[in-house]
Amino acid sequence: MMFELIGDWLQRPNYIAFVLLFLWGIYIMVTRYNLVKKLIGMYLMQTSVIFFLVTLSAKRDATVPILLSTTEAVQPEIYTNPLPHVLTLTAIVVGVATLGVSLALADAIYKKYGSLDEEEILKRLE
């Protein structure tokens, strides 16, 4: 049972890397007190999910999804799956937009309370 599980994992190294990066991002977000550090954790989480989607689109012995010939009939098995790529393009841009808003919020918090440290801010709020 245990050996089967490890064999399953070795066939899916992308999933192992995704789980590591995802948990790492959450861990940084939960444990660190500095707001910018928390946002670095959030960025790691975003990229881990995008990483997972892109690796799902990979095919063995396949090339980039740009048609090699526009006159012959297309063989779909020689191109990687283009649909996850499109979804992740949108996700990257929206992710960075939300990151920009959260960084602007952190900046506004710093200007008002003079600190980026979570406990320090809570102390000054009282």
């Binding site: 939960v30 690796t55 949108t90 960075v96």
Partner: protein, 177 residues
């Protein structure tokens, strides 16, 4: 051979992420290493055949996100960027390993890496690959899906970015006065 290249790339990816969050002492170095992590992701994606995603990650992820982080750090005091490591809370010690165990336990429900017969590859994506040139006269299938089949999605995405820009401008303006 390819498998070992694969494993090495993934290992390096996790290592850069590690150094961005654990190994360095200052936030500025952390942010710069996070930018290198983004570039590294771009290399991984070019290698996986996702060239458009690699371009976007190199420009938006490694470029713009790093610039935003750096601007925020330059705007705040450097003395506040020291590293403080409190003891982790109970949720971090018990909850996250449990979540990780559950995620890894269901690994065999997913298709193996690079499997050409996985459900994602045989359902609708061959139709897009076969018909996109006849429909849109664009050899790049990603571009034709993004700008033609899903054009409204892309249009509304620009609304999202516009809203984010307005939110940033209002936040920074209010804090400046």
């Amino acid at each position: 051979m390819t498998y070992f290249v694969n494993i090495t790339l993934l290992f390096l990816l996790v290592l850069t992420a590690a150094s961005a969050t654990f190994l360095v002492k200052e936030l500025i170095s952390s942010v710069i290493i996070l930018g290198s992590y983004s570039f590294f992701l771009a290399i991984v994606w070019a290698w996986l055949g996702a060239v458009d995603v690699a371009f976007v990650e190199a420009v938006i992820g490694a470029g713009l996100a790093t610039v935003l982080f750096l601007v925020t750090l330059f705007d705040t005091a450097p003395k506040d960027t020291r590293l403080r490591r409190p003891p982790p809370p109970l949720a971090g010690v018990i909850g996250l390993p449990l979540l990780g165990f559950l995620l890894l336990f269901v690994a065999n429900d997913l298709p193996p890496f690079g499997d050409p017969a996985s459900p994602a590859h045989v359902h609708i994506s061959p139709v897009y690959l076969q018909q996109s040139y006849a429909d849109t006269l664009t050899p790049n299938v990603v571009a034709s899906v993004l700008m033609d089949y899903r054009a409204f999605d892309t249009l509304i995405e620009t609304v999202v970015i516009f809203t984010a820009g307005i939110a940033c401008a209002l936040l920074l303006k209010e804090s400046g006065s």
